[in-house]
């Protein structure tokens, strides 16, 4: 029963939401990038979350303690994958990256989708900050027992 377990859980979520925010910012920043290192237009990136499994120390702690309580590790970023959906094709023969038919491949980034995801990420972040504050107040409350 670690004292800061709950804080670690909430902070893992804060870190994960931050990574998500970074990736969304990267997507928006590259919404018009037609040339990347690979020569292809920019592909939209997606963050995949995964429940963080407990460490060896956690499992050992759990086996030693007399009451078998479940133990949790929070959340972590499993992978940052590329969105395989097709590029947006725009007719613009004057563009240097246009093909022989005059079409340019633009990144498969939809600004509206990114904005919605950004709001979702920031709301999740807020929810986890609230959880963190509640844990903090519970800990400081235990210090006042017997006063």
């Amino acid at each position: 029963m670690g004292m800061f377990d709950a804080i670690n859980i909430s902070s893992s979520a804060l870190a994960a939401q931050r990574v998500r925010m970074d990736v969304i910012a990267q997507n928006i920043a590259n919404a018009n990038t037609t040339r990347t290192e690979s020569g292809q237009p920019y592909r939209r990136k997606v963050v995949v979350f995964e429940e963080r499994k407990q460490s060896f120390a956690d499992i050992l702690d759990q086996k030693i303690s007399e009451v078998q309580t479940p133990s949790f590790g929070g959340v972590r970023v499993k992978a940052i994958l590329e969105d395989p959906s097709p590029f947006k094709r725009v007719y613009d023969p004057t563009h240097p990256d246009a093909d022989q038919n005059g079409y340019v491949n633009y990144p498969n980034v939809d600004i509206v989708t990114e904005m919605v995801n950004m709001i979702e990420a920031s709301r999740s972040y807020e929810a986890n900050v609230t959880a963190l504050n509640i844990t903090k107040s519970m800990i400081s409350r235990t210090f006042e027992i017997g006063k």
Binding site: A6, F49, E51, V75, A127, T130, M138, E144, I145
Partner: protein, 133 residues
């Protein structure tokens, strides 16, 4: 003679439960965007049964064979339970953020209440030790 720490121990167990539950609800909120995650909760009855001494049973006492027995097989005795009342989203996640925030608040108020009672219990014994002075 009454054991002076009996009640204190009971409050301690209630605080333990709230503390563990806070962890589980925090974990649910942390995994609100994890595909396939199922919301969990802590079973108060099972937790209390396992922390209390074995002689203190919470089973119903029957004095006649015709008394209806408590169906213990029907009771979920696992400490950690899946919350099946929630609706599953398309990504197989069952976390309802509003419900989890509500649980978090409830739990923290419960914790505050029990710790206040514990403080008062301790202060009572302090008064006794100081002979009421």
């Amino acid at each position: 003679m009454i054991n002076m720490f009996d009640k204190i121990d009971l409050y301690k167990k209630a605080l333990d439960w709230a503390w563990e539950r806070n962890k589980i609800v925090s974990n649910n909120i942390a995994n609100a965007d994890t595909p396939g995650y199922k919301a969990k909760d802590l079973n108060f009855r099972a937790f209390l049964l396992r922390t209390l001494n074995q002689e203190e049973s919470l089973e119903l006492v029957t004095t006649n064979e015709k008394h209806i027995k408590e169906n213990s097989s029907n009771q979920d005795n696992s400490i950690e339970v899946l919350d099946s009342s929630l609706q599953m989203r398309l990504d197989q996640n069952t976390v309802d953020i509003e419900q989890e925030m509500g649980k978090l608040l409830q739990n923290s108020l419960y914790f505050d209440g029990v710790s206040l009672q514990l403080s008062r219990e301790i202060n009572k014994w302090k008064t006794v030790i100081k002979e009421g002075r």
